[in-house]
Symmetry: none
Subunit: 211 residues, 4 copies
DNA sequence: AATGAATGAGACTTCATTCAT
DNA sequence: AATGAATGAAGTCTCATTCAT
């Protein structure tokens, strides 16, 4: 075996990348560490040198999850919920595109590995909060709390679904997403105006974004 | 090993039940056939007698998926979309409750086993179609095709999510579902009335349910 | 691999024999199960089929220890302690000769494996009791309890030593044993007569052999 | 890893101490060099820097064996064999107490490592010679060579047993030792007087201690 | 039809040892 | 002199699968 120096990335890094790809493709259990070593072009022993147990690979992978926090101000178009959300989704897409496999992997292994599950839930919660924050910031006023919750939940669901699980489902493409997004946005504003003012449950200024 | 009496189920049946539970709990790869035999209380050899390859167990499991087709008429409350959907979801819940594990299992193994993936997609498509059919049947008139698509997609997503994947997510409980359902229903009607009549893209009678 | 039917002993038996020899020769830890399989001429998997964990081999070996209980009456020559002990030792030698390796092995692994240690201690205790019983049965009368205890302990030590540990020590051969045995026997009788009668601590009839 | 200061012992020394403890506790084969490094609080590489092969640790350990030669004159009480032996044993106990682990270790590994075996045998021979020398020096006269040999052998056995192997056996405590010692001593004198003078096999001055 | 012994490929993991620095 | 990354051989154990009965 000639291989010796890092080549493009450190050996450790190459191992992680290989693991991510193989886990995502075939599942954690079905992927032998030997195949990971092979793909990373490192000797088998090195995999266990860096990650004593196979599960440590998963842990390390989870810790590599990019922080997908997006500054609300950057995407919000005041007064236009649909456009704001559209820009949020676009930004999320851009950021997450690098980790679709990883995200997908998480869904598969969440049952069996605590810690993976936790990371997954955190991520989802963060997503909901972000959507919520954008809706509020773009908010036209007069929105009911419950409606915002529903809208955030549904959109987060759709986004998360596309990024993590969609592999199995019929490939809906971006059109579907756009349509649903628009539906949600319009629904929000429609409901707002329909209610007129002062139903009592609309938002005051006190609502802290992200909570 | 004295065990013999078919008693509560044939040996074959017991094996399948055991496999379903174990696969769902730990994943396909992580579940040894020996443990399946053990749980089914059958000799180890019998598992392979009925299912020569381990994957055959998965195949058989998929074929056992209950038909969840629900007669539209049974749940529709004409003129009341929200109520109609609510009854649809309740009925789905009732039927699917017996196969949550199985459903969940399918998500996990869909990547690796064609046939599982196919079954999963069929199921999802069927679900969308059903929601759609109900919306149409309860339909207040003046609904845009795009809106119906979006609404069906979102609700199907929420339902499917709860039944198959939700195990990992924060337990939202039925309230969340109800709120989202209501949001979608109101959105639909709100948008309908808002558009008034005759925008040209509302539904004719031609739309075939299930397509 | 053609091998199939038991040949000379059952496969299980051959595995145990191979394990005993190899463990005794090289120690438990230094002996790979693969070499055991090789020597027993069975496929590697079969070793683990019968003995799931390597340590189970040790356990099984311990359970195979022959019962070395010898009927006191058979060896005792009344009135002649030396001859009685000589015959006891001869009989023990005859019985144990088949398990010297095993005995030796036990000493080595007693530290690390409870259960091995227990078996070893039981064996030793049994040995002491047996020597004691023979001395009593051959007893010339007027023996002090303490002397009998000492004599039993010392002889048991010498025997046990020869059978289990002696491999490392200078090979003393049977002559040494004979000399020590005679020394002990004469010492006993010498001490008895020297004390004369009635020092008060000699044995009554109440002393239960084996206790 | 800040560790640096030689403080209580040089790194090499700390490694040896750690090795001794771990080998004695778990056996040579079962003890990874990495654990030795850990316990000695030195980097893993340093262990192999000082001791290229793992077996070198054993060799070095053997060479560290304290010289247990005791000056005969220091313990002998002329005319009183029992007391002389008692003092010898006490002195041996005092010296050896620091190396019980090491002694024990030697027994375990003697099979597999020549050199360890040799050291062990030397030690034992030395012990026998020492007991012999003490008996002679305290000697009451009229002792038969064979008796002295037997007595030396038995006592050496008992001592060696306590120091090296006794870990497994029922804990007999010092009382047992004392009783056996006394038994041997009395036996010697009893036999001596019993024989009276001139059986012809008593000792001349020729017997070289240590042989 | 049913069973459990038997098989062997291969998984994960450990570890002594080497080597570049 | 000292270190820790790197290596690969080997070990234990698991398991799907086959086979004789």
């Amino acid at each position: 075996m000639a291989r010796a120096r890092p080549a493009d990335g450190s050996a450790r890094e190459r191992i992680l990348v290989a693991a991510e790809e193989l886990f995502a493709a075939g599942g954690f259990d079905a992927t032998p560490t030997s195949r990971i070593a092979e793909r990373a072009d490192v000797p088998k022993g090195l995999v266990h040198y860096y990650f004593r147990r196979k599960a440590d690979l998963l842990t390390a992978l989870v810790e590599r999850l990019p922080d997908e926090r997006i500054e609300t101000a950057k995407v919000v178009v005041p007064g236009d919920i649909a456009q704001s959300l559209r820009r949020l989704v676009a930004e999320l897409d851009r950021r997450l595109s690098s980790s679709v496999m990883l995200s997908h992997l998480l869904w598969r292994e969440a049952d069996t590995h605590t810690g993976v599950r936790d990371a997954l839930q955190d991520r989802y919660q963060q997503l909901v909060a972000q959507v919520r924050a954008v809706i509020l910031a773009a908010g036209v006023g007069g929105l009911a709390v419950a409606d915002i919750d529903s809208a955030s939940g549904l959109l987060a669901l759709a986004v998360s679904y596309r990024h993590s699980v969609a592999r199995h489902a019929v490939d809906e493409g971006p059109d579907e997403m756009e349509r649903e997004l628009e539906f949600i946005a319009s629904a929000l504003t429609a409901r707002a105006s329909e209610r007129g003012a002062g139903t009592g449950d609309e938002l005051g200024g006190a609502l802290k974004p992200g909570q």
